[in-house]
Amino acid sequence: MYPVERWAYANRLGRRHPAEKLALAGGMLLLSLTLPAYPGAMLIAGVMAVAAVGVAGISPAAYLRMLRVPAGFVLAGAAAMAVSVAPGRDGWHVALSPEGVAVAASTALRSLAAVCSMSFLALTTPVAELVGLARRWPRLGTAAEVALLVHRFLNVLAGTLTAMRVAQESRLGYASPRQAYRSLAALAACLLPRALDRAHRLERGLAARGYQGGLPVLPSARRPLSFAALAGILALELVVAALGACLGGRGAWPM
């Protein structure tokens, strides 16, 4: 089980209706893209960090670990943006441009705010409940059921893969690059037939219980959708939007 998923079940907001958490994270995602990056993005990042660590009770270390990988990618992408490349008379020129730096800084801030919002959603809402929301729409029903099956299989297969990898490593399967390629290829080639075999076994088991193509499941025990909570979330988003829009434009950076 991925550590994210363990938190998604075991946090203080775990039993709340997924639509409430989706409204908060989705609204903040939208705001992080539309508000002026300075100071709006910082405001959003702060609010979402408080929501995750303070309200949902996610450990700060787990939250930071979730942010670490995307933050690295964001900084690398922003570094490429800060540099300007243009065709000149004697070939291409590379320079550090002030506009480029401004765009890079605001994009990095925006992206960081969005990552904070998305991490809140991932750490507080189990995947099964989030995808389960989409099942009610008939057009999305099939895709949602396939997504739930993918989620089930990826957890099962991750366990198989770890066991196979340990077996390979304990036989020096990754001692040299050449050996590592062979081992990785064997890993993938052994995993595919096992994955297909699992699907067949599941199919036989379901067929024995009258499987016609539908996969009904019981909803998990959780509180019903609270309109008071939704109203509170909407109010919070309006306050953040108003603050971000008022304070924006007076900041140090253009945009």
Partner: protein, 225 residues
Amino acid sequence: MHIMEGFLPVSHAVGWSLAAAPFVAHSAGAIRRQMRERPGSKLLMGASGGFCFVLSALKLPSVTGSCSHPTGTGLGAVLFGPPAMTLIGSIVLLFQALLLAHGGLTTLGANVFSMAIAGPWVAFAAYRLARRAGASPAVAIFLAAALGDLATYVTTSVQLALAFPDPAGGFEGAVVKFMTVFALTQVPLAVSEGLLSVLVMNALAAHNRPELQELGVFPKEGVAG
């Protein structure tokens, strides 16, 4: 190459989602028809998606010594076909965003376009053309995986360049800039992913011919591949 959460402006995020939507809808429709004939194919799709997700999380030793993740688009397109790969890839990208924080929800449309549409179709076309031109299966798989990988990063470069044109060099300057960043890191990876895909297919063809026939990679009657 994933575009991170919140990296694209709203108009671009919406635009790429709209561009990807017809492909995903076509893929979902094809799969729904297939499921009506054979209910078990839904489970097969689930297993294939799980397989793609788990493989994409593997670390691949690169020629330059660094490590990165295979995109798996080439192998997936040859094994499952591009229409199925579009829906499977979109679901895998959603879970990569939620479980691994790779990519994002706002950039899902752009990432689906580069990794679940452009990559698989280019890989599949390369595989078919190479086979028709008389290339051996190994060469065809290598070309499919390497070109599929390259197609995803060219698409990503264009997506980033459209969103962030260079202040001095404009769109072309930005394309050159992002392409050089990715070319340095991704070309060795495309080659290593091509090699790995050949090894995987060799092992599958040697030991798991019935499974490959079930997926439709090889014809049903035992023809030497």
